[in-house]
């Protein structure tokens, strides 16, 4: 992960991350960006649970393009509030979207067009604060948002970059297609015979994927279907501790800056209690070809 972030997420990057809303959030990748002291990032996402709040609090972020930033089960994001209201640790540019419009902005970039029209947003003041959303008659033109890099966490991937994810996908596919490149972290690194046995489930063209990181637990505390439950208590503790700047700094030291990597982080988590043990495998699809 350290190599992938060092090579493919330079300072100033536009980064789509947390594209499945509440599940499969690449916290490990985000924490590595914090450890490496990334600056001037422009984050793109729909609802990235507490990860945006952490990156903002750590001073990595110049701009946020998102539908919602906070802590989904707990409410407000305290770091995000401090940045927007008081410029702590630094001022933030916010480009508001709705969930629908951020998806359209990414599809526009994926299809290489300047904008896409929609019937949402009419009558909303979001049109007043985001210049990339322009009302024209009874439609709104949503300008393309083009990430330099999309970062995703998935259940399994092979070394060639073929990623399988299941469960709801949020805006993951359009984010990957829109981005210049994709970093994949995965619970299981599998042989290509596994991914290629079900090509419909491959998220992105392998030509987009520049790095695959085998990172078990890389989405904690967010859930991973078939692997980990959501760690609700972890989000609650984060909400409490991040209420003050000092509290957030203590949290960050304990869980990010004083931790060398995800393996060490996971050794501090009671992962056994979070691991899903009641499995529900799907029936395989027959790709017979005669």
């Amino acid at each position: 992960m350290a190599d992938a972030v060092a090579r493919f997420v330079p300072d100033g990057s536009t980064v789509a991350i947390g594209t499945s809303l509440e599940a499969l959030i690449p916290f490990a990748a985000g924490h590595e960006m914090i450890r490496q002291g990334r600056r001037e990032l422009e984050l793109v996402g729909p609802i990235s649970d507490a990860l945006f709040d952490q990156l903002v609090g750590a001073g990595c972020v110049r701009q946020v393009t998102a539908a919602w930033v906070g802590n989904v089960s707990e409410g407000l994001g305290h770091c995000y509030r401090r940045a927007c209201e008081a410029g702590i640790p630094r001022p933030l540019v916010v480009l508001d979207h709705t969930n629908f419009s951020i998806s359209l902005a990414l599809w526009a970039a994926a299809w290489n067009v300047p904008s896409l029209p929609t019937r949402t947003l009419l009558g909303s003041d979001i049109l007043r604060t985001n210049p990339g959303l322009v009302a024209a008659g009874e439609l709104v033109q949503v300008e393309a948002v083009r990430p330099d890099v999309a970062v995703v966490h998935v259940q399994r991937a092979d070394a060639m970059g073929r990623a399988h994810a299941w469960g709801p996908l949020g805006v993951t596919e359009e984010a990957g297609l829109a981005a210049g490149r994709v970093i994949v972290s995965c619970e299981e690194l599998v042989d290509p015979s596994v991914t290629l046995s079900d090509p419909n489930r491959i998220l992105f063209p392998e030509t987009k994927v520049v790095a695959v990181v085998h990172e078990p637990g890389g989405a904690h505390p967010s859930p991973v279907q078939g692997f980990f439950r959501r760690d609700h208590g972890f989000y609650r503790d984060y909400a409490e501790e991040s209420r003050s700047v000092d509290g957030f700094q203590g949290w960050l030291n304990r869980w990010v800056t004083e931790v060398p990597d995800r393996a060490a982080y996971m050794s501090n988590v009671d992962s056994a209690s979070l691991r899903i043990t009641r499995h529900r495998p799907s029936e395989p699809a027959d790709y017979g070809d005669e």
């Binding site: 649970d49 969930n99 009558g123 709801p168 996908l169 949020g170």
Partner: protein, 254 residues
């Protein structure tokens, strides 16, 4: 009658807004429970839609902290990308949506973005999420919120999710909004409703133990009152038992 919390009452009231056969855009928090309660009682054919990219026809078997939690995916009718779910709403196929509000005004406009000047906000709220999409595109919608004078305000400082705009007749139609607008605002102490053609909210029912005077005092504008204000029906035993089955620890309703 058992004791119940204000949140349990809100869930029960919200569940009664769901009609059998509705396609419901469920969203987060209390509405997840409201869908579960309705599906187990009067609306066995209601389907739930979740913007994360899910459709269900039965409540999740396990506790949900978010709509993306694994129990909400197991047994789903459809797991897909968000834009596919939004497509259904854009086509007018979503009968009812639920939205949480931080601030609401007399015309049902919701603010979940900025308190004060957006350039220098006093409070930065998390934002729209799918709220504005639901408010604009679903056929009808219901908001749930805590009833406080600072939250029910004469005019919201920022319209994240439009209700009936400036309250003039046909405001939504004139501005190209597809959906029908808010049907009710369910608060911790009462239910506000709107005239058939939209416009200004009025007090329709007060929750048990509350008074019209109290509601008006806690509301930031001169609240209109229905000719006959009823008392909100308390949660039934079966509603309460369903709520407690789906929120056993009282995470949302405690």
């Amino acid at each position: 009658m058992s004791d119940y919390t204000p949140q349990e009452l809100m869930v029960a009231v919200a569940s009664r807004e769901i009609q059998d056969g509705d396609l419901v855009f469920v969203g987060m928090r209390l509405p997840i429970l409201a869908y579960a309660v309705a599906r187990n009682a009067h609306a066995p054919n209601a389907r739930g839609l979740f913007e994360v990219g899910l459709m269900r026809d039965q409540p999740a078997a396990g506790f949900l902290g978010t709509m993306g939690d694994p129990p909400n995916v197991a047994g789903a009718l459809w797991a897909t990308r968000m834009s596919n779910v939004m497509a259904l709403m854009a086509q007018g196929h979503v009968d009812l949506g639920f939205i949480g509000g931080a601030e609401v005004d007399r015309f049902g406009n919701l603010n979940t973005s900025y308190v004060g000047d957006p350039a220098q906000p006093k409070v930065k709220l998390p934002g729209s999420g799918g709220g504005a999409d639901i408010a604009i595109l679903s056929r009808r919608w219901v908001a749930l919120m805590r009833h406080e004078r600072r939250r029910l305000v004469e005019k919201v400082s920022f319209v994240t999710s439009p209700g009936y705009g400036d309250g003039t007749p046909h405001w939504r139609k004139q501005n190209g909004l597809l959906g029908g607008g808010p049907e009710a605002i369910i608060t911790t102490i009462c239910v506000l409703r709107f005239p058939e053609l939209g416009g200004e909210a009025y007090l329709a029912s007060v929750h048990p133990g509350r008074t019209v005077e109290e509601v008006r005092a806690e509301t930031g504008w001169d609240l209109k009152v229905a000719d006959q204000v009823s008392e909100t029906a308390a949660p039934s035993e079966s509603e309460l038992s369903a709520i407690r089955r789906f929120d056993p620890e009282g995470f949302w309703t405690g």
